[in-house]
Symmetry: C2
Subunit: 212 residues, 2 copies
């Protein structure tokens, strides 16, 4: 079972590592980290992770995972990446995204008429790609599964683990990473955080977003 992650400069490390920590432990998993060129990838938090494959060396995937980035829409300047996503998507059982990764799926032309989610601050941007924005943590539309912002990739990966390897395996992985979340605050969604935090953060995030 080939599980392929798209890696690219600027991506959010946790968008990739959340699902990676779970999916890489699935029985029979062969994980490939694919970028324009194999080698160092600079994440948004300045941490460097290594892509072990060039996109040109990966033709297919059973599971494709597209992490997000504050700069996600800048990938429209790299048609080779979008074409690769479209090509690999034709071969997948599951095509998935985390956070603004769904905007990359959109730019690749995969979300026309498809229900999808994204980071809450960029959810409405999905419409530009013909997608139907749905404000849920995980949205499953046929073989495309999109997850909301950053940490939602962990929930998505556990759900996917159950689909691929059964509920028993998924629960064992949840127990292995002791995923019994207990956030010290209840501010993880716009509804819970309230308008003041939401408006300040949205303005800041979209400011970065527009520039790319």
């Amino acid at each position: 079972m080939e599980i392929v992650f798209l890696f690219y400069d600027g991506m959010t490390a946790l968008d990739a590592i959340g699902p990676h920590e779970i999916l890489s432990r699935l029985p029979g998993a062969v994980v490939k980290l694919a970028a324009i060129s194999a080698g160092d990838i600079l994440t948004s938090s300045d941490l460097i992770m290594k892509a072990d494959y060039a996109l040109s060396d990966v033709q297919r995937a059973d599971i494709l995972v597209i992490p997000g980035a504050k700069t996600a829409t800048s990938l429209r300047k790299f048609p080779a990446i979008l074409e690769w996503i479209d090509k690999v998507h034709q071969t997948t059982t599951w095509t998935t995204s985390v956070c603004t990764g769904s905007l990359i799926l959109g730019a690749a032309g995969l979300l026309s008429g498809v229900k999808a989610t994204s980071h809450w601050a960029t959810l409405e941007r999905l419409s530009a790609y013909g997608a139907i924005p749905v404000s849920e943590r995980i949205v499953e539309s046929g073989k495309i599964i999109t997850a909301a912002g950053v940490s939602a990739g962990i929930d998505m990966a556990l759900m996917l683990a159950a689909k691929v390897s059964g509920e028993q395996v998924a629960k064992t992985l949840q127990l292995a990473i002791e995923y019994d979340p207990a956030p010290p605050f209840d501010a993880g969604s716009p509804a819970k955080a309230g308008p003041e935090l939401v408006n300040a953060l949205r303005a800041k995030m979209l400011n970065v977003f527009e520039k790319k």
Copy 2:
């Protein structure tokens, strides 16, 4: 504010990246990823991340983060790492660990008579270092904060963010990573997962643990 992560071969990627995604976004944060030698670190899931400092080039930290590993106790074979942890700990405001990282703090001699937690499967091992094992997700003992298995590092980092930069900043970071967890199953702790899953996984994990 210098935030230093210990990186080492075999460490669990999510133990480090969960807190890193949060703490690296704190106002004024300068993050250093320190390993025996600067360069590639092979995590337990075969993903390579880059340490940007050698231990010898990092003398102090405001926050020290020690991630865990299935092979955590093998670090006792590297007294230079344990001595470095002890030395840097003398300079910190907060010394923290995720998962079996607490066993490394223990091996470094920092937990004598100190209440601490760890991954549930290795919690009792803390006693070997004179620590007092506490089965909680996050345990704060003076300036030492230990978190339970893998994903608990995210909760720990948000708690720490509030201590260091205030509750408003911590809540904004929670909202930024949309940390409104919704695991598809309720199997994230031994009590919730039940004895069958727990016993199978404990046997498997301790088997790896004993060999190192």
